[in-house]
């Protein structure tokens, strides 16, 4: 269980774009049907292939019901493939239970609905649940819980004894995130981690995630409906539609083709939309700007040029 103790730096520097042959997580031709063998059977994944490299930030986007939440439950062996393969750090997830706990410690998953995740009555206990399973000493446990709670903007002393059912939506989301962070997994899989967070906390959390990736070599898989968030964080994106990957690549390439996104219920990030609309009106700005900074600079340059 070496992997469980802290984020190892062995993974080394952050790869700009990962290569398939050095993947930490590899998903091959994965199919999933809910309630298989019953009349409620519902195909959720139809042959997904993806990979995640060490130190990389991978975004997963897609319209509602496209299979994102289903997919991420495979990444830490909560679901076991019955058709297709999932390999995590060289370990093939299968029926057998030997090794599955190591996978779950290596890969920490935060579910989309924090209510699904938080189950202890008190906030402090819930955040401590993961580290406690790792068998940490009491003061180390306490330090971890404190660190994780402060990392998501929950003051330790004010919140550790709060009942989880009395939290506001955003406070509950933070508790759920803290519970996963406290385990210090090498791979973090986050399903809409910033939904319901206020703007300041949202950018704090993003900032902190990026630091963990850059400094400690954390690997991040991010599911989000916020395209600006994906554009700002992800090195590579997968677009899911009806349970299949329909596009993938660096965000700049994926978002540069809005007509290719529209059929899948998606829109490019806000600055990209503005630039595309301007180009449609005949104003020569670059079409692949992803951030406010890039788009602002491009617009200013175009305006100066017309003078």
């Amino acid at each position: 269980m070496t992997a469980s103790h802290g984020v190892t730096s062995a993974v080394g520097a952050r790869a700009a774009t990962g290569r398939a042959d050095e993947a930490l997580i590899r998903v091959e031709d994965l199919w999933h049907t809910y309630m298989a063998g019953t009349p409620f059977a519902q195909a959720a994944l139809r042959g997904v292939t993806m990979y995640v490299c060490p130190g990389e930030v991978v975004g997963v986007i897609g319209h509602t019901g496209s299979g994102k939440s289903t997919l991420i439950q495979y990444l830490n062996g909560l679901l076991r493939p019955s058709r297709g393969r999932v390999v995590v750090a060289g370990y093939e997830v299968g029926r057998s239970n030997s090794g599955i706990e190591a996978v779950r410690r290596l890969v920490g998953v935060a579910f989309q609905d924090p209510e699904d995740q938080v189950f202890e009555p008190l906030v402090g206990d819930d955040v401590a649940y993961g580290p406690r399973q790792l068998g940490l000493a009491v003061d180390e446990l306490r330090a971890r819980v404190r660190w994780a709670m402060e990392a998501v903007g929950l003051p330790f002393d004010a919140f550790k004894d709060r009942y989880t059912y009395t939290l506001s939506g955003g406070e509950l989301r933070r508790t759920a995130l803290a519970g996963v962070l406290a385990m210090r997994p090498r791979v973090l899989v986050l399903d809409e981690p910033t939904a319901g967070l206020d703007p300041v906390t949202r950018s704090d959390v993003r900032e902190r995630l990026l630091t963990l990736c850059r400094r400690d070599g954390l690997t991040l898989v991010l599911v989000s409906h916020d395209m600006d968030e994906i554009a700002g964080l992800a090195d590579r994106v997968y677009v899911l539609h009806a349970g299949a990957v329909v596009a993938s690549g660096p965000p700049r390439e994926v978002f540069a083709r809005p007509d290719a996104l529209a059929p899948y219920g998606l829109l490019p990030p806000y600055p990209t939309q503005v630039c595309m609309r301007l180009r449609a009106r005949g104003i020569p700005v670059r079409g692949d700007a992803l951030t406010i900074e890039e788009a602002g600079a491009a617009i200013a340059a175009a305006l100066r040029a017309t003078r």
């Binding site: 019901g65 406070e171 206020d198 219920g265 602002g296 200013a300 305006l303």
Partner: protein, 280 residues
Amino acid sequence: MIGEPLIVCDGVEYGYGEAQDGLALRGVSLQVSAGEHVAIIGPNGSGKSTLARHLNGLLRPCAGTVRIRGMDTRDPAHTRYIRQTVGMVFQHPDSQMVATVVEEDVAFGPENLGVPHAELHTRVREALEFVEMWDYRDRPPHLLSAGQKQRVAIAAVLAMRPACIVLDEATSLLDPRGRADLGRLVAGLRRQGTAIVSITHLMDEAAVADRVVVLGGGLVVAAGPPRDVFGDAERLAVLGLDLPAATALALRVRREIPDFPVDLMSVDEIVDAVAGRAAS
């Protein structure tokens, strides 16, 4: 089409029992007129959901009053009328499913209002078609994806045709197109005279409202048209809020083009502003 006040909150105070040190709402006053779109924003735990639950009488103020068309929410005789007037979409879609089949869940509200049988079916169908969930009508809601549940929850309130709809982070789990669709719906409802109170953490959504109310620590700390509220970037930072993307983009352009306007709130406005200047 902004008319008579539909909702009047006056000095509302509310505390969740002794577990809380202090109150969740500390004297909030707010008015919503028919056909008005009010956005409520503010940091986590500032009391937005608590306030929302006062607007249809699910919570009753400890001090101060909430009146819906003049009716005090503390009077149980008005309860049904108030719930009919103000419909509510909760933050957490799972907790608002009542029935075990999608279409019956949507029908539940109108049934309670005594809508005649024939009309029930048209209402349910319209609402579900609007949120693109008609194909899922005979499925159990607990087997849907998060965003699909949220769509059903929205349909369930639409089918009640209330005079005011309170949306508590109703777009938080929707994909971009779902959000855009809901934005169009809100605009359409507003044109028909339905008031909308939307709680959101997305400044772009708040920027299209008629009025923005900022809560902080259980108090109204700022209120006014989006242009005024978002016009003061420094104050926004103090309140723990962000700029709408359009405003942020305009500010960035202004760093290089000093006379570029900054009170822009949407994609359309910024595109028009740039195109206008490029042409002149």
